[in-house]
């Protein structure tokens, strides 16, 4: 450690007879207050630090078109309609809604269960994929887009071209539900999805199911 030379006498006869020996001061500094302050600051910064930096989720909405000729057409067999309701409940049906005595495809699940349903539906659509029936131009475009986005499975991008998810949050759904389902689209890599208003018939079914299950 560097020590401070406290000897003030001029050069020449150092430590000569009769010369007073300078008192050596200790160079050790008491570090305790500094450490105290250091830890105080650490605790302060730990508490104020905002570790979770916000991220963003992209959302693209289609332009409202009134012209029926310009509306996007989707194949009935590839559509999965998901409705979000009260109490974090999810309702869904595949294809066209059919509720009658023989057939009822209106089903209910939760956010935990919806992922499997999306995955299964996607698999189902892919298994029915037939290259002969698909427009090759849109198929090539699909592949090019996927390749541009760095998708490692871009060659298969066209297989789920008929797969479409329609999301219908009703007035009791929360914003969290909406973001969760959009997130689910990302997780399951659903390329085509749309957010649409709930129809009245569907709303009635949701209300009836809610009453049946006692969801308030």
């Amino acid at each position: 450690m560097a020590s401070i030379d406290t000897g003030g006498d001029g050069g020449g006869h150092k430590k000569g007879p009769g010369v007073k020996k300078a008192k050596k001061l200790s160079t050790k500094v008491d570090m305790t207050p500094m450490v105290d302050l250091g830890f105080l600051l650490i605790t302060f910064f730990v508490f104020t630090a905002t570790m979770s930096t916000p991220t963003t989720l992209d959302l693209n909405m289609p332009k409202d078109v009134d012209d029926p000729n310009k509306k996007t057409e989707v194949k009935q067999s590839g559509v999965l309609t998901i409705m979000l309701g009260k109490g974090d409940q999810v309702y869904y049906y595949e294809g066209q809604l059919e509720v009658s005595a023989e057939k009822n495809n209106f089903k209910q699940t939760t956010f935990k269960g919806i992922r499997d349903i999306i995955i299964n539906k996607k698999k189902d659509v892919i298994s029915r994929y037939n290259p002969a029936t698909v427009d090759p131009v849109s198929c090539e475009k699909e592949k090019a887009d996927a390749k541009k986005n760095g998708d490692p499975f871009w060659e298969k991008a066209c297989e789920d071209i008929d797969f479409m998810v329609i999301i219908k949050p009703n007035e009791d759904a929360t914003y969290k539900n909406t973001v969760d389902i959009l997130d689910e689209m990302l997780i399951c890599k659903v390329k085509r999805y749309a957010m649409v208003k709930v129809l009245e018939d569907e709303m009635k079914l949701i209300r009836a199911t809610e009453q049946q299950n006692g969801i308030k």
């Binding site: 600051l41 650490i42 992922r115 969290k176």
Partner: protein
């Protein structure tokens, strides 16, 4: 009896490494801390798996709180005159009759959450007092009187005049109901804005999911 002398040990420990680490941690936290701007309303954003960073400059931020109130914020760090342009345009289009001093005040107003009738009063309030002020929210649910449309329109025009790129952020509380969000989207749509960023906090990608597999495959090929 012969007494055994125990060697006396020094009780002083060398604190230096300990202090070193402490200050290392301290400097890390100083560097990593980014102070939050004061937010009058507390928002708990839902989580999402997308890890895209939030553009915090040159953006319009529409906040929806847990009781469905809607607030409007302009984020422009460099060009403060954009704030003046927006409030001037709002003043003329809505006949608010604001004084130049009140319009000047808009620069320091973090968020607007009042109907047009209340803008004057809001701008008269001291910047500090604005934080604790309970704002009723911009009326959006009435489709004929969706006032957010105007705010977005003027902000879009002001940013376009300044030649700045503009991002549209929507920051909603998880508990907010869907109709409020739908109304905000409707306001954006009326201004022909179809691309938005939803502010979320980061969640982990569920392992085994398709996105997870794609991410891993992408990493391997790199």
């Amino acid at each position: 009896m012969p007494s055994v002398k125990m060697p006396r040990k020094n009780t002083d420990t060398d604190m230096t490494p300990f202090v070193d680490i402490a200050f290392l941690i301290l400097s890390f936290f100083i560097m990593a801390t980014k102070f939050k701007p004061p937010e009058p309303v507390e928002i708990t954003t839902p989580g999402s798996v997308q890890s895209q960073k939030l553009p915090e400059n040159n953006a319009i931020l529409v906040t929806i709180d847990s009781s469905d109130k809607v607030y409007f914020t302009v984020l422009s760090e460099k060009k403060k005159e954009i704030y003046d342009d927006i409030i001037k345009a709002i003043n003329t289009s809505q006949n608010l009759g604001l004084s130049p001093a009140q319009m000047q005040k808009y620069r320091t107003t973090y968020m607007v959450g009042v109907p047009f009738a209340g803008v004057k009063q809001l701008l008269d309030t001291d910047t500090k007092a604005q934080e604790s002020l309970k704002q009723p929210g911009i009326p959006v649910k009435d489709t004929l009187n969706n006032q957010l449309v105007w705010w977005i329109r003027e902000a879009k025009a002001a940013f376009a005049n300044a030649g700045e790129k503009l991002n549209y952020l929507i920051k909603g509380d998880g508990k907010a109901k869907y109709p409020a969000f739908e109304a905000v989207i409707a306001a954006f749509k009326k201004n022909d804005i179809l691309k938005y960023n939803l502010v979320t906090s980061l969640d982990d990608v569920p392992s085994g999911s398709e996105l997870d597999r794609a991410n891993k495959a992408a990493k391997k090929t790199e």
